[in-house]
Symmetry: none
Subunit: 193 residues, 4 copies
Amino acid sequence: VPSDSRDRMVRAAVDLFRERGYAATSLGDVLARSGAPRGSIYHHFPGGKAELAAEALRRYSAASVRFLTRAVEGGSAADVVRAFVGYAADGLARSGFQQGCPVAGVALDLTQEDGALAAVVTEAFAAWRAVLRAALERDGATPAQARRLAALVVASVEGALLLARAERSTAPLDDVKVELVSHVRAALATTGR
Amino acid sequence: VPSDSRDRMVRAAVDLFRERGYAATSLGDVLARSGAPRGSIYHHFPGGKAELAAEALRRYSAASVRFLTRAVEGGSAADVVRAFVGYAADGLARSGFQQGCPVAGVALDLTQEDGALAAVVTEAFAAWRAVLRAALERDGATPAQARRLAALVVASVEGALLLARAERSTAPLDDVKVELVSHVRAALATTGR
Amino acid sequence: VPSDSRDRMVRAAVDLFRERGYAATSLGDVLARSGAPRGSIYHHFPGGKAELAAEALRRYSAASVRFLTRAVEGGSAADVVRAFVGYAADGLARSGFQQGCPVAGVALDLTQEDGALAAVVTEAFAAWRAVLRAALERDGATPAQARRLAALVVASVEGALLLARAERSTAPLDDVKVELVSHVRAALATTGR
Amino acid sequence: VPSDSRDRMVRAAVDLFRERGYAATSLGDVLARSGAPRGSIYHHFPGGKAELAAEALRRYSAASVRFLTRAVEGGSAADVVRAFVGYAADGLARSGFQQGCPVAGVALDLTQEDGALAAVVTEAFAAWRAVLRAALERDGATPAQARRLAALVVASVEGALLLARAERSTAPLDDVKVELVSHVRAALATTGR
DNA sequence: ACCGGCGGGACGACCCGTTTAT
DNA sequence: ATAAACGGGTCGTCCCGCCGGT
C-alpha cells in the first residue's frame, strides 16, 4: 500500500516544480508543503531528489495523458488541441498564475549529468506527442504532418505557459489556442480532401 | 569604459542560464567560467545574483531583437519566422544541444518574490512579440491577428527549444518551423485577400 | 537457538570495525554486508550500535584468546609471541591488507560517554595480556617482568598492525616479531639463570 | 600570512583526532572547539574534512619529529626511545587520558578510497621510523637491525598509547619504556662488540 | 575604481541510528 | 521479527559582507 507521506511528497513536488522549477525547489520545501517528516524522504526515495522528481514527472505525465486520451475518444483533433491548451490554462489560472508545467520546470534546470531524470523528461514530452499524433492521423493527417503538428501543439502550449505565467495572464494561451485550432483545422481539411 | 571582467561575467551568466537555468547556476559557476575575480561581483553587481541575471537577460534580449529586426527589414513575415526559429536552432546545435533560451531558464526558476527579475523576463518576451507583431501587421495582418500570431511564434519557439534540448535534436524546431511558416502564410493570404 | 541473522550481523561488524573502525561503520554497512533485515537490529540488539559493537569485540576477543591459549599449551613463551604476531599478520594479509584489529578500531573512536563499550575494550586488552603474562611467568619471568613484557607484546602487535595496514605490507609485523622474540628470549634467559 | 582561524581549526582538529579519531570528529566539532566560523572551512580547506585532516597530521608529525630530532642530537638511542615514549605519555596524561595519537586515530578510520589521507598517515609513520633508524645506526646498529628496532619502537608506542588511553593509566607506556630501553641497549651492545 | 583574502551564517542534499506499528 | 517512519545531524557550499591592498 502506498504510504500517505510518500503520496503527499510527490504531489507537493509536482506543485513546487510547476511554481519554481527543479533547482529552486529544496527538499525542505517539499517536506514543508507536504507535512511529511524529514527522515521519510530517504526511505521513500533512496535516489534522493532526482528520484522524487522522476516520480513527480511520471505522475503528472500519466494524469495529463489520461486527460488527453479521454479528449481524443470524445472529440475531433481540434477538440483535443482545445482540451490540451485548456488543461494548461486551467492549472495556471486556478493557482493564481503560479503553476506552469512541471516537466518544463525540471527540463530547464538539468545538466548533462542527470541522465535518468532527463530520460523521464523526454518520455513525458514524447507521451503527449504520441497521443496527439494518433488523434491527428485518425482525423486524416499524414504521418509526417501529424508528427509536425503534434510537435507544434506541444511546443506552443509549453511556450505559451511560459509567457502566460510570466505576464500573469491567460492571454498567450488563449491566443495560441485560437491559432492552433485554426491551423489544425486547415491542415486536416487540406489533407482530407 | 566597461570593465572586461564585468563583461565576461555577463556572458558566462547568459551561457549558464541557457544550459541549466537560474537556480542551478551558482555565482561560483559564473566566476569559474568567466575567470573573473571573486571580489568583483559586488562591485559590478551590488544587487547580487539577481542583478547579474537581469543584465544577462537584457543583453540576450537586445542581441536577439537586433537579429530579428534585421530579418524584418530584409524579408517577409514568413522570413522573420524562419529566422527566429533558426536563431534558436543555431544556438542550440552550436553548443552541442546544451544551450536553450536563457529567458526561459530564468523564468521557470522564479518565485513570486523576484519581482525585478520577473519584470525583465516579461519585457524580453514582450520585445520579441512586438517585433513580430509589427512585421505581421506590415504584411497585412489585423492587429488582433498579429498579436495572436506573434504569441504563437514566440511560444512555439520557446517550447520547441525545450523539446529539442531534451531530445538532443533539432527535429522539433524543424517541425515547428514548417508548420509555423505555413500557418503564417495562410493567415496573411486570407487576411490580405 | 542463536538466530542466523544475528550471527551474520556480528561477524559483519567485526570485519567492518577491522576495516574502518567504529565511527566510520554505519549500521547500514553492517546490514548490507550481512544481508540481515533492517528491522532486526533492534530485536537482536536493543542497545543499538554500541551493543552490537560490544558483542563483536567480545566474540573477537574470545576467538583470539582461544587461539593464544592453544599456543600457550603447545609451546614456549617465544612461540606464543610468534603465534600472536602471526595471528594478526594472517588476518591482515588474508584480507588484502584491509583488516586490522577491531578492538583498536573501536577504541580510538570512543569518547568519554561510551562507558560500556570502553569497558569491553579494556577487557579485551586485559585478556590478551593475562594469557601472555601467565605464559611468561610459567617460563620463568618474575611477575613484574611478565606484566611488562605482556604489555610490550600486545602494544607492539597493535601498533605494528597499524603500521602494516597503513603501508599495505607485513614488514612491520615481521620486524616486530623478530625483535620481540629475541627480547623475550633474552629476558627469560637472564631471569632463569 | 596564515590566518588565525585556520590555525585554530588545525589545532582543534589535532586534538579531536587524538580524542575520538577521524570519523567520530565532525567538522562541527572542529568549528565549535576552534571558535572558527562555519563558512571559513571551505575557504581554508577546499578539500573539506580530508584536507583539514591531512594538514593536522602533517603538523603533528612535524612537531613530534622536531622533538625527536632534538633528542637524537642530545643523547643516545636509548635516550631517544625514552623521549619518544615520554612524549606520548605526556600528551596523554596532560589531557586527562583523552588524547592519544592523531595519526592512529585517523589511520584506523580510513577506507580504501581515502588515498590522499592514507599517504599522509604512511608518511607520518615513516618519518618517525626514519629518525629512529638514523639514531640507531649512529649508535652502532646494522641497517637491518635499525630498521627492525625502529619499527618495534614506533609500534610499541602507538600500541601502548592505545592500551594506556583505554585503561586511563600510563602504566602500559611505562612498562613498554622499560622493556624497550633494555632491549635497545642490549641490541646495540651486542652489535657494537 | 577594482580586486583578493577572509569571514559568516544559512541551507543544500544526504543519511544515520532509532522507534513505532505491525 | 520485520518494514515503515522519524528527526536529528553530517558535510558541502551557497550568497553575501567586510576589510586591506593597489
